[in-house]
């Protein structure tokens, strides 16, 4: 489908801002150098492994306050008591935490002088996604020229947020500038000892985003990691904290549709959302990390803990499009603590070749009259394995609560697997839980029908898959939805035949 003019305009604006962002990025990268962070550790021989000293160095290097070092050390202590969970429907060799270098996440990205030096396969995909040359350069780390007129766009953007009192910055910056806020909420939703990967993240997290929306403010634009000022590439142990104060609203976009190649195998991010009374947070993710090759060699292991806490009458919506990574282990959840709060989870998870995904959500109903909705669409192709795993827990005091879950799986070919593991617990008798699940295949009849009308087989698959995911795609912000549709098609290329 052709991009509507309005969308095109927005995308244009987007790209402009993004290209500017890179300049600022470069500046900040240079600044860092000025303070001697990078040079110091580059000159040091990088030692692998995880111990208290390493954590102290990370904390010191980032000039962190004492409480945060204590927080990290506490997490490290807890980590010793935890084991990597084995219940997920995925197979992989244990990751040796001692073989990872915890400095390397701060290393500089490889720089290219022009796009000609970048992997042509990657560029081909960029082209299919319709990503601008400027952004292609940014994503691949090509040095960019300064584009003067876009300075004003980025500045205007920042100014506007500031005027409204919205804080949107790297979490490392927030720790320095707004320590009270960070201290109050960090770990308040995902406790230090929550699970193995979250605990690891708490001990060694490097950077991520921080966002605070003041009481009664409606954030006028989609906050995106695109706009984040000083973050070259997403870190291996990313930490994100979003706080929506009373009656506020924010829509946050994470990730991007372009393929991202990283050398790190293990990624363990933590995202915490705090929705105070009557506020709303919409959190959308497009994850397209390197999935490994057709034979399952390489690829990212993505173990993510995402959770939101809803106070009275608050609402949190998670929307995710997961197409990348060799392994995805991810359950964006909502704790519906306040009465009348609402949790939503909309997910599309695509696996192809030898990818494995075990993903879903947890909806914990604690308050009265709480509502949750789960719509999960799994698409499995090649020799991949996709599982939906979800927990709906309605506590005794959560009277008159409701959940609706719909978990659909679409299979392509006969060598892939789709699984659904729904768990439901309801401890009162005034609440209602509804669950629907389907498993389907793209039929030869559907393909022939499309082909008879002149649509190629590959486009027909794209069309059918996008139709199947429509309920989720329409939840994405408009700018993302168009790209996400194309991404789905690309992810499934060559999956039939």
């Amino acid at each position: 489908m052709q991009t509507e003019p309005v969308v095109a305009e927005k995308v244009f604006l987007y790209n402009k801002i993004m290209s500017k962002e890179n300049d600022i990025l470069n500046k900040i990268a240079n600044e860092k150098y000025k303070y001697g962070f990078v040079s110091k550790f580059d000159s040091e021989k990088i030692q692998k492994g995880l111990n208290e000293d390493v954590i102290k160095i990370i904390s010191k290097k980032r000039n962190e306050p004492g409480w945060l070092l204590t927080y990290r050390l506490n997490a490290f202590k807890k980590l010793q008591e935890l084991k990597s969970p084995k219940w997920a429907n995925i197979t992989f060799e244990d990751i040796d935490l001692q073989s990872i270098s915890y400095y390397s996440s701060i290393k500089k990205k490889k720089k290219y002088n022009s796009l000609k030096e970048v992997d042509p396969e990657l560029l081909k995909t960029f082209k299919k996604l319709g990503i601008s040359i400027e952004e292609q350069k940014r994503l691949t780390g090509v040095a960019m020229d300064v584009v003067v007129d876009s300075v004003s766009v980025a500045t205007t953007f920042q100014k506007e947020l500031k005027k409204l009192g919205i804080i949107f910055c790297p979490i490392s910056e927030a720790i320095q500038k707004y320590p009270e806020l960070v201290k109050k909420y960090l770990g308040s939703v995902v406790p230090v000892s929550d699970n193995y990967y979250a605990t690891l993240n708490s001990a060694v997290f490097t950077d991520g985003s921080f966002c605070y929306i003041p009481s009664g403010v409606r954030c006028p634009m989609e906050l995106s990691t695109y706009f984040r000022i000083n973050e070259a590439g997403t870190g291996q142990f990313e930490r994100t904290l979003v706080i929506a104060d009373k009656g506020s609203y924010v829509s946050y976009l994470e990730g991007c549709t372009a393929p991202i190649r990283e050398e790190h195998q293990l990624h363990a991010a933590v995202v915490e959302l705090v929705a105070l009374e009557k506020s709303e947070i919409k959190y959308s993710t497009v994850q397209n990390w390197y999935p490994g090759d057709k034979n399952g060699v390489g690829g990212i292991y993505n173990f993510v803990t995402k959770r939101g806490l809803c106070h009275k009458m608050a609402k949190i919506s998670w929307t995710q499009i997961e197409t990348g990574s060799a392994i995805t282990w991810k359950y964006p959840s909502c704790v519906l603590k306040g009465d009348g709060s609402i949790g939503e989870f909309f997910s599309v998870a695509v696996t192809n070749n030898k990818q494995q995904a075990d993903t879903g959500t947890k909806m914990i109903h604690l308050g009265k009259n709480t509502t949750s909705t789960i719509i999960s669409k799994g698409i499995c192709a090649g020799k991949s394995n996709g599982s939906y795993r979800g927990l709906v827990n309605i506590a005794k005091r959560a009277k008159n609560s409701r959940n609706f879950s719909q978990c659909d799986s679409l299979l392509m070919g006969d060598k892939c697997g789709a699984h659904t593991f729904p768990y439901f617990e309801c401890k009162n008798n005034s609440s209602v839980i509804e669950h629907e699940a389907t498993t389907s295949k793209i039929s030869d009849e559907q393909l022939f029908y499309c082909q008879q009308r002149g649509i190629s087989e590959e486009s027909a698959i794209g069309l059918i898959v996008n139709g199947y995911c429509k309920d989720v795609l329409k939840k994405l912000p408009m700018e993302f939805a168009v790209e996400a549709q194309k991404l789905l098609e690309i992810s499934l290329e060559g999956s039939v035949g």
Partner: protein, 246 residues
């Protein structure tokens, strides 16, 4: 326009068509009738290039081009349209999106300039109007939750949008009430001109009262056993196929 000669096909090891000869010239309407299992739908599938049918003898030429072995979309781009006996549901894909994809891909393949959105929408609305279709159909999923009659009307709608040179209607009249049958027939008559041809596969002569064919062929056991004019259909209605098969 369409020249089928000595066409024989099989599925796995079962012979279905056994030497079909059929010549359709521009502007002609051919009706193909015959009992269940005689090979009518197979003929439609083979012409449109559906997988699973093996042509063991003979050939099919469309506009002097051999089309056996072409992919279904290539055959479609040449201007052959099939109105399905059982139209398929594609949930979540609106009719609007679907038609746009059909037309865009065709224009691209045929090196024609893309159809402007305004023209596309205008055509959609016109087609809706002429078939008495509520325009909210356009935003519904393709055939999704449609009744049998609605699905058939949707096939004719797509036919009007794509304006094929040759339209094959596979039992489009089955399961239609009289009103729907009239609408479907008027759709066919609307497209009918001296350049377009139709093959109407049917069990009943009912539709042929509204769309008068130039030729009627009786298919039995994979062969055309009898050909004649419009009156042949009337005869079958009264005597049945068995009389002719003798």
């Amino acid at each position: 326009m369409l020249e089928i000669s000595k066409l024989s096909t099989k599925i796995n090891d079962t012979k279905i068509l056994k030497g079909i000869n059929l010549s359709v010239k521009p502007g002609e309407i051919h009706a193909i009738m015959g009992p269940n299992g005689s090979g009518k739908s197979t003929l439609a599938s083979v012409i449109t290039g559906k997988d699973g049918h093996e042509v063991i003898d003979g050939n099919i030429k469309f506009l002097n081009e051999e089309i056996v072995g072409l992919s279904p979309e290539e055959i479609a781009h040449l201007g052959i349209f099939l109105s399905f006996q059982y139209p398929v549901e594609i949930p979540g894909v609106s009719l609007m999106t679907f038609m746009k994809a059909c037309i865009d891909q065709r224009h691209e393949k045929l090196n024609m300039p893309a159809m402007p959105a305004s023209e596309f929408i205008k055509k959609m609305k016109q087609a809706c109007k002429s078939l008495n279709i509520d325009s909210n159909w356009l935003s519904r999923g393709v055939n999704n939750g449609f009744s049998g009659g609605e699905k058939k009307r949707n096939e004719i709608f797509q036919m009007l949008m794509l304006k094929p040179k040759l339209a094959i209607l596979d039992e489009t009249d089955s399961g239609l009430d009289v009103d729907a049958l009239k609408i479907v027939s008027s759709g066919i008559n609307m497209l009918r001109n001296k350049n377009n041809s139709f093959i109407i596969i049917t069990h009943y002569e009912r539709i042929l009262n509204y769309v008068v064919p130039d030729f009627v062929h009786i298919l039995s056991d994979g062969k055309i056993i009898h050909s004649g004019g419009a009156d042949l259909a009337k005869k079958i209605e009264t005597t049945g196929y068995s009389e002719i098969e003798k």
